[in-house]
């Protein structure tokens, strides 16, 4: 077979193959077969070396034309096959759901605590912290709970077993703090007035565990001491907080109460948002939900920390984060917070 026929044959064969290129794989096979360095076209160029000199220009030109043509036709076939593939991809079932990934959340108690903190920080409160293993002085005595006083029964207390210190002494009387109020004392002991802080933290009560009480919970305590701080101002601050937290439609009720470290003292109720005050199981048919205790700092407390009650007055308040979270979401069992069932955690 002469060179010319071979070229013609290759051209025919290649053109026929081109028509069958459907996929990128087909295209690659075609390229390997005809256009690659070891492909048929390259072989023909190789054979050019053996033909007589005078035939070379004609055959060479023809071969080059065929190559150019095949290459350009191949390129368009290849492109077509790729867009075929894309169209193929377009047919993937997009109703298949996305891949499952871990979703994390902050604990609902954290969310409540952060929200409370945000509100008070925005009106000028700083933050302070104190130990959970607290001495009797800071947890009770300096807060005007005299020894042998029934006020100590208001909070069931865990006592800490004394240990030997390095010096061989026994530690004094320590408790697991029953409230964050001890931090008030620490703040005033270490800072001159004015002070304006909130004090979040974990507190403990020696109570049987049930759907309504747990051996520990979290509080946010607040304290503001300055010249001429009044009960009216306490009402203003708490009302602002409640409106920010529960919504501007919330109704508040301040009713007299008793805490050893405040005088006068009050409990704050909000109208039950479950039944809008009509009376339901959650509010025990009173239409009101208790959310915090508060009052004016008792002069005895000022004496303990060395503040002059004639110079300054102040208010303090404290609320339970669990309680507020239970109320906010209508959760009926406090233990859910500490079990950490992820089906619970994922709801918030």
């Amino acid at each position: 077979m002469g060179m010319l026929e071979e070229i013609e044959k290759l051209k025919e064969e290649a053109t026929a193959s081109l028509a069958h290129i459907k996929t990128p794989d087909d295209a690659e096979n075609f390229r390997l077969k005809f256009l690659s360095r070891r492909g048929s076209l390259a072989q023909l160029f190789e054979e050019m070396k053996q033909i007589p000199k005078e035939e070379k220009p004609g055959i060479g030109k023809l071969l080059n034309e065929v190559r150019t043509q095949l290459e350009s036709e191949f390129e368009s076939a290849r492109e077509k096959s790729e867009s075929e593939k894309k169209r193929e991809l377009g047919r993937i079932d997009l109703s298949i759901p996305g891949r499952k990934r871990y979703i994390g959340r902050k604990h609902p108690l954290t969310q409540t605590a952060e929200e409370i903190k945000r509100i008070f920080t925005s009106i000028g409160f700083g933050t302070a912290d104190g130990p959970e293993i607290e001495d009797d002085y800071h947890n009770f005595e300096a807060l005007n709970f005299p020894p042998d006083h029934p006020a100590r029964d208001m909070q069931d207390t865990f006592f800490v077993k004394p240990v030997q210190t390095k010096e061989g002494n026994e530690t004094g009387k320590y408790v697991l703090r029953t409230h964050t109020s001890g931090v008030q004392i620490r703040v005033m002991e270490n800072n001159k007035p004015p002070v304006r802080v909130i004090m979040p933290g974990r507190v403990y009560r020696n109570e049987a565990i049930s759907s309504r009480s747990y051996c520990l919970f979290h509080q946010v305590e607040g304290l503001y001491v300055d010249k001429n701080v009044s009960l009216a101002e306490l009402k203003g601050t708490i009302t602002y907080f409640a409106k920010e937290f529960f919504g501007s439609g919330v109704k508040l009720r301040f009713r007299p109460s008793f805490f050893p470290f405040t005088e006068p003292s009050a409990e704050v109720d909000v109208n039950c948002f479950i039944c809008s005050g009509k009376g339901c199981r959650i509010c025990k048919y009173t239409g009101w939900l208790e959310i915090m205790g508060c009052g004016m700092v008792d002069p005895n407390v000022f004496k303990f920390v060395g503040y002059d009650e004639k110079e300054v007055s102040g208010y303090a308040f404290g609320m339970g984060i669990e309680r507020i979270t239970l109320l906010k979401y209508g959760i009926d069992d406090i233990r859910l917070f500490f079990e950490n069932d992820v089906r619970f955690l994922n709801q918030f």
Binding site: H107, I123, F254
Partner: protein
Amino acid sequence: MKISRKWIEQLVDLNGVSDQDIATRLTMAGIEVESFENLSEKYNGFVVGSVMEVVKHPNADKLRLCQVDIAGEIKSIICGAPNVSAGQKVPVGLVGALVPHDQHDPDGKPFQLTRAKIRGIESEGMICSEYELALGDDKNGIMVFEEDAPTGKPLAEYLGMDDTIFEVSLTPNRADCLSHLGIARELSSAFSRKLNPKKPSLHETGEPIAKAAKVEVSDPELCPRYSARVVKGIKIGRSPRWLRVAVEKAGMRSINNVVDATNYVMLELGQPLHAFDLNLIEGHKIIVRRPHESEMKFATLDGKERALSSDMLMICDKDSTIAIAGVMGGANSEINPVTTDILIESANFSPSSVRRTSKKLGLSTEASYRFERGVDPNLTLAALDRVTEIIVQTGGGTVAQGVIDIASTKFAPRRIELHVDQVNRLLGTRLASGEIRRLLESIEIHCDKKSETIFVCFAPTFRGDLEREVDLIEEVGRLYGYEKIEEQHQTRLVFDTRFKETNNTEDLKGYLAGSGFNEIVTNSLQPTDVAGFHSESFVKIANPISEDMASLRTSLLPGALQVVKLNLSYGLKDLKLFEMGRIYSSNGGSNGESFAETEMLSILLTGSADPISFDRNGSEFDIFDLKTEVERLLKHLNLDNWDFIPYDSTREYKQVLKLFMNGSEVGILGQVSETALDKFSIKQGVYFAELNLAEILSARKKTNKFHPLPKFPFASFDLAFIVDSSTPVGSLINSLKSLAGNLFRDIYVFDIYSGSGIPEGKISVAFSVILGSDERTLNDGDIARFIENAESKLAKEFAAALRKQSTK
């Protein structure tokens, strides 16, 4: 405390005031009403019936057919009780009434009466037992009333149950309200109605009291006042209905006419009283003293033997102890069915002494509860007169002439100065002095004007809680009404950096949640063996709720494993969790504190690293996932200098790394050991890291300086070494890092391979190295030089052989 409206109404006129009004006004005055119940509603549809005729049921041997007159109508009622007979007055439930207890139901559930045919004959109602009416435990027959019970009278009215009971929750300062009189006083102020205390009338016809009995108080500090009366010749018996009902409605048990009378007066006036059988008082002499060494055991009237201590105050006769002062009487002197002569004690005891005694004995009584909170020392005589009146009225007897009254001092009202401007300053009000006076006098606090703006006030002895000006200010605020005090907003803006939060965790929690971790909050109280498992110096609780919560945690691990266990039990086995919380130590450390509390951060991985999807197979978490998370966390905090040091396995971990920063250990991470997992029956791998949060947060740079962006591109290339499989990859990296010196930019391990092509006992480790220079673009020669040096360095240090190279 239970307060009866009917009882209150004997002391103050509440005509036209609804139960709800009473509840609201008391609550808003600081006396919280938790709930109230109208008892008569409970007995709607019940009346007093008169049994006219009883015949046997024609179709049943044990049933009887009764004709019962309920005034104006005769009802035909079938009754199965053995004790029914003609002529009786009985409680009758009519069709539609709700019977409080079903006698045939094991739980005694209530049921509604319907018109029913019993063995062919219709019954138009039901004659009830005490149990069915929730008036007692007797199920053995129907209740039978006194003969003069008025036929047709609504049952509630006849029983004295036409009443509302308020459940009042009192704060410890309001001892004065532990009585109907105290509550009535508040209501008289709230509704501006006059208070009408009872004025008992007595006929003292017996011998002079000095002949009948003597009292000696040898410890006046613990017993500031002791008053007593003697009544002789009384008859002990069941109390009349009004007395029984009154005591029971207040939640106490009816005992006999004398004991009920003492309880009644305590509930009415707030003065605890005790009646002794006078003939059981040796020598008819009372001595108030502390017990002798030989008297450390005492049988109280509840039949229990109590261990005394020498600081307790006792009531004694000539020879022995007969009562624990202010707490409980003794079995040896109690009123009994044959008692005829009694001595009634009306005393005042020191609150802290009674409280200590009650705590020590673990015995709290209605009396001790009141004494602990403080009883009016001027109440003893009024209470004595009132109780004597009732005892004579219900049990007869002759009252001895006069009264014994031993008082250590005169108890006068406390004098307190009140400044009007101080009231308004603290409350934020503008109350006029006249208004303040009116409010205080409405609760019997007498006010004298000292000047235009100063009052001298006299706090009555029943208000022992009023000691200081501020206590009076609270009274003014409370009576004026907190709701009327207008809200004010903060008067002064304070710029203060002293209370800046240094270790804010909000962002870090947000980051971890965003990385797919659920935040958990766990109990910091743990069993002692669990706390001790992680550390020797742990904090123990002296009075734990249970052994499960007897110590404070020393690690966040057990709490987290508990959470894994719970979720596994619900089939939730793929978990990413984190917690921030304190661990506790009894080793206070260097700063002289007794105890130490350290803020920790834990993260936990268990289950599938890549939860189920349609096209990729999920692989389980492993130690490198944990290491990755810890590294990402540290990078998130902009930390750049840390080391992971592999350690031997511990009790808690089998693969374990410790995290070091600036030379100190700040955390541990690893695969949790089987020993630890077994305690929680966890069968799948758990990876846990516990980091010292405070230290990590404080290691953050105070300021983070900008680095100019690189001017010249980095060079990136791969190289692989064949080394002994025991060679730590980390050391290879460190060696390459130090070789690169200041050209080092980054390094990754992208393949670790053993098998075909690699000699037995060797591995091929492939690195991707990134180098760069601040002065120029690195060229092929630089890289070739680095690889050449790396080859010889690693060959020398690790007997490593360079495998292949390629530039990207």
